[in-house]
Symmetry: D2
Subunit: 436 residues, 4 copies
């Protein structure tokens, strides 16, 4: 009977052994109990758990409440050392291992889901915007040298997202925005326009995959070639792009074709963690080292732990299943919206986007458009975007988008119920507003 | 009997009512159950908990595992909105209230414990180093204007701490370090030297309170006057200074005498949270607004929650008790180290520091000094610093500190047991090494 | 935005309001967070949570560790008062409400799932066997009176289950076992045999619904009539019978036709709690009061809390879905076992049982039968019963069951995966053993 | 650094290794994290955690909600097998080990704290009252034999406690109560009276240690000799007596001098678990075996887990400290009550009791006595007993106790704050009532 006990216990512990051996994303999901056990074992290697230690530093990961053990999964020492994120911290052997494993999983995850050609990845305890700031800070020229003093411009194919623009502002970088152009319904930034805007003060170029309509993804491959040609740092903002094999393919091709320094993706939008983390990947290991060393100080371990929890609780199979569901939901969204559009005498905008769908709102007047947004909020539809581009251009990524529209997403993790209810409520809201 | 039930329940809930009314640190500690109940109530106001919502955004705070509810205390939406940390987030009413309350508590906490003259404070989901980077990013001149292109220097009274220097590097700022000078045992940076180093390219000056010996705190008051005089941004690094009424007094006086823009303090070192947060305070509300708006994107709520947990689980009385214990332990540390010094024919260095004490290690040779550090690590003494300044100057904050020494801290949260054991083990390690 | 927060919070709290109003099983499942919040609110009404109380009793529900709050969901005072289970406990208003609500739900649950004709139910912090002992202890004649001294026999249609027989032994009751008879494959106890065994020393009769083949359920209706006729206490052992509408129908008819005093069902086998609870129901309220008053002392609240957790986390819809799955799995089990039987030249025994299926093992010899049990254990099949009735009669509920057989269950909560794997492994084990 | 991690982890795990080796109560307390880790490791040996198992039994410890894992610490299979509590359960190797270890600790705990002469102990998932019923059920004569039919009386030195009397009623046992007699203030039951009441129908005698004034403990030694002499089962009710070395000494002497079959003590009152468990000890191993085999069925593991949590979280040192505090608080209670008595012209009753103190209430009239109880309840004093023995004799353990009184306890786990507040509030309530 004891043998049976050992058998069951080993069955429970086995995935942990495999994880250490293979340093890759597990195929099958772990149970909550397994994840907990694993995190506890590691966090009990940190010196703040050593009741035989005597602590005479000014920072010893002391905590005021046991509740802190829950919010940090016991990794009270955080991650990083003296401004080097991935440096092992002698006071926190367990936390250091946890972070190292997470970074291995980050690389494996991206390699498995679209970027086999990256060399290294790192989980960053910051969101996409701040991660961009960090990358730029790490990869910028040395402005203390007179010759680089003016080399502070970054080429930005227009992307109407405040956080990204703030990242540039924060770093004191001058963003040179290349305006979007309309191609039927879609807004794109032609590579020629980017090339045209280049001057010697530019040191980097950004590009974007996942974004909301009418803006389509950038031509990563051409930007990549151009970056190589002009010796520009090239950072791809792939915010919620891991969920789409199509967007990932663009980046893979970009890496192969020219120069990509870093690819930034959010952990919450791609693998369903609470907000606060990003994964930065690069085809060159030294880039990741540079970024890791640019971070000033230590950081909360929680965003890393959250990444790890998602990886282990999903597993490769779980993530594949979620990708499949996303694709089905995206299809459902388009079909239902198509049907509704016909009813309302509106139309689906022709824009490539594997997550979102946009529908015109030509039959609504200015005030009705405003009312529609409010009505949907009150009907508990979260996340739709209603745009009246005649009123406010920011968000369309160009200057003169003439038709109003609504955007809805079938993002990873959404349920078909979300889609069906949203369409139903949209119809209700639209009808009520037209009647008034 | 039901009345009794209500009475007990109200007694349980009452501190929450008072917190909302007074928006100040509770006098008495809350129980874990009360803190949990409070955090749960708030986080259940966020829309990701609404099972009647339909979610069609690309970011809806979906989570892959219930374990994420523990690490985030349910605040899966994080904090901040579109690059404005303190802006309320419509998808997260509960999280927004949680953050607002935390910022009120941060101000109240600092006002109660030494800085009655601040106007606003904010809890930042970043450590001290990155918080400094954020402050500088927010308060820097507009380098896009030609006239400010060269105004990128910051005066730094020498402080041998990698994270702080990295913060300047990250932002592309030129640090103008004013070298430390030796005054008997202590290392100080005279105000005249700081003034002497000023030129028109400087836009800011840093100052430091808490630091490890032999470096003493800066003359905050004089730096503050000088900052006002030259119109410099003045940021005080008060890393673990809240625990010392003496250091806090220096800042208070500095604020009154001249210009202080921001005071940065760590949450882990001052109020015993897991690593990852800081509190930034200012005598001017608009400075905090600027800093809050400079953050690019959203952030993990966990560092904020950790701050709140510490505040509520300590209460004013708990913190006062901890301050008292710190003072007693500091005294104990000096006494014990004094006794040991006499035994070993060493001496206590005469350096003002309300947390740390330094002892000379004149009788140890070069290799023995290295051995001592290792021996203490093996004896499970964490946090002491053994310096051989003849070998490596970094850490002494000056160029020519001639005597080797060891530094130990009696920081807030340490127990007398820590002190006693550390001295005992130091004696043991020292003796063994001398014998060899 | 605050309105939205309140809306979401009310949506979260609403099921609790409804529960108090309707005192019935919720239609939809509650989330873990809702259940936790509810239990916490109640347990924080108990006086052991009152930090303003002064406690000078010898029992004040003090606890040595906060972990005890988890195992008891905060109901440290347990349930019951001075040997009266359902009496409200003044020190535990919250715990008393929790128990009262649970008993309402127990009645509602049984009424909804097959016994509309019961008047009262109680959740008992004991398993089926001890619950039977409690019922008999409560409903027995007063043996202190000389005239009842010999009235201590209970009629027991043969049921080969140690716990039930031990319950009678524990109470010092003489069980008068009426032997099972074989009808084709099935074992039944004819009502005539029960009647034949009656004498004046009998005060009670038991009957059984759910049991494992070859024993079929008793003729509850006829036993019930007989009990009424002879004025016997009649207790129905419905161990895991709630999962079967067919078994429940037998009891319902029994109640209508004659006398049923108490119906006992396990909480773990019927609604998937950890082991340790039972629900006793009766068509007469005073019977439940008598049983409640017979319990000597207070009891752990945990089995009650577990009952409540299951009720709230399943809801009516959840339980209906599980019943449906059980029926599908039962069908699957029979089909797969039928196919296997044909292959092995064995046959499915013709026995009515909505949960279990039995297959003959005529082609295995004595030692092979023993080996089969062991082999299945090693193949990690838990719960099958392999019987060689020629060797050991106990378990067959009769004396001369001639053919060996194996029994497998498709019980509530099992997955189709369990069934499929079990059949596959049975085939494997059987083949290997035959080969040897 | 990895070595350090292993060192810290081993330090964390070491107490578990020692526990398995020594099977005795740990000297030092374990941390919550250690206890959790230990319980998780064991419960993950149970087959319900085996995701490779196929489950075809009718009882497989399936659960409807993960919350059940908290209330049961993962031991969903409960304890016991087929009506034999300590029999290992093949489906639950981990749970079986957990129970076995608990029983070893129970014996060690009692041996260390007063009963070195016991041979075996068992933790029972029932309170004191039901444990008494279980003991009597296990140790009674075989009433099915005609010669024992009338041997159903138990001698009970008067003890006015409903639960204990109900235990006898439940089992259909006739209690022969020997009335208490007054000796100055104390109520005792003289051994001669017990002997006088004996007749051939008696098969057992009870005795009591811990009880509330004016009833003093029984003369265990003489009852023990008498039990040996008359061949009576002798059960000592030691409800909350482990906290007093004096009461324990009486039992130890009783065991040595004659016959003691079982000693029953509550887990909640002695080691601060939630309500629901007892420890039964015996100087003879076979008695414990008999009791263990008398339990009908399986039982909730939670009361056992609670016992284990208390043992591990207290440790020998923790319990010694609590005993010391209890003695100090008992002294404080007497002193304060003495002072108050002088003020009120009342007096302390002269009754031996190491936990409780009684004060006369001679100056209060009938209605005032009733009012006092209510007033104390409203002032949030829980647990005092106000008796007007002229009105209601039950509770005094005799017929004609003439003076009214109040009893207060300084029980283990109480704080001096409890005592001080209770006296203060008593004075307040008394004064108010006298004034009216």
């Amino acid at each position: 009977m004891l043998n049976r006990g050992n058998l069951v216990l080993n069955n429970f512990l086995n995935p942990m052994r495999i994880l250490f051996e293979q340093k890759s994303m597990p195929i099958d999901p772990w149970s909550e109990e397994q994840i907990n056990f694993f995190l506890q074992t590691l966090s009990n290697m940190d010196t703040d758990k050593d009741d035989k230690a005597s602590r005479v530093g000014e920072r010893e990961a002391r905590i005021a409440s046991r509740l802190h053990l829950l919010t940090s999964s016991g990794f009270c020492h955080g991650v990083g050392r003296s401004g080097f994120l991935t440096a092992p911290q002698p006071k926190a052997p367990g936390g250091s291992i946890m972070y190292e494993i997470s970074n291995y999983l980050a690389r494996d995850f991206l390699r498995k889901f679209g970027l086999p050609n990256i060399q290294k990845a790192i989980v960053i305890p910051l969101c996409t915007g701040m991660s961009l700031a960090l990358c730029l800070g790490a990869l910028k020229p040395d402005w203390n040298e007179e010759k680089f003093l003016r080399k502070r411009k970054v080429l930005v194919p227009q992307v109407d997202h405040k956080s990204l623009l703030k990242a540039l502002d924060l770093m004191g970088i001058r963003s040179k925005i290349i305006k979007g152009k309309i191609f039927d319904d879609a807004v794109r930034i032609p590579i020629e326009d980017i090339i045209k805007n280049y001057d010697d003060d530019c040191f980097a170029v950004l590009s974007v995959t996942s974004f909301f309509p009418p803006r389509e993804h950038d031509d990563i491959k051409e930007i990549s070639k151009f970056a190589k040609d002009k010796n520009l740092v090239h950072i791809v903002i792939n915010a919620y792009g891991v969920q789409s094999p199509e967007w990932m393919k663009l980046i893979r091709a970009g890496i192969d074709a020219g120069r990509v320094d870093a690819v930034i993706q959010s952990t919450d939008k791609n693998i369903l963690t609470p907000i606060g983390g990003a994964v930065i990947a690069s085809p060159r290991e030294e880039i990741i080292t540079q970024i890791s060393q640019a971070y000033a100080g230590r950081a909360s371990a929680t965003p890393i732990v959250n990444f790890l929890i998602s990886m282990l609780s999903l597993g490769v199979k779980g993530y594949e299943r979620m990708l499949l569901e996303q694709q089905q939901n995206r299809k459902l969204l388009e079909e239902k919206l198509q049907t509704l559009a016909q009813k309302l005498d509106e139309r689906i905008l022709k824009i490539f986007n594997p997550v979102a769908v946009a529908m015109s709102l030509n039959n609504l007047k200015k005030e009705q458009l405003t009312a529609l947004g409010g009505a949907l909020y009150n009907l508990r539809v979260t996340g739709p975007r209603v745009y009246n581009s005649r009123e406010k251009a920011f968000g369309t990524c160009c200057e003169d988008y003439s038709q109003p529209y609504i955007v809805m997403n079938a993002a990873i993790g959404a349920q078909s119920k979300d889609i069906l209810l949203a369409i139903e409520r949209l119809e209700k809201a639209y009808s009520q507003i037209r009647k008034k």
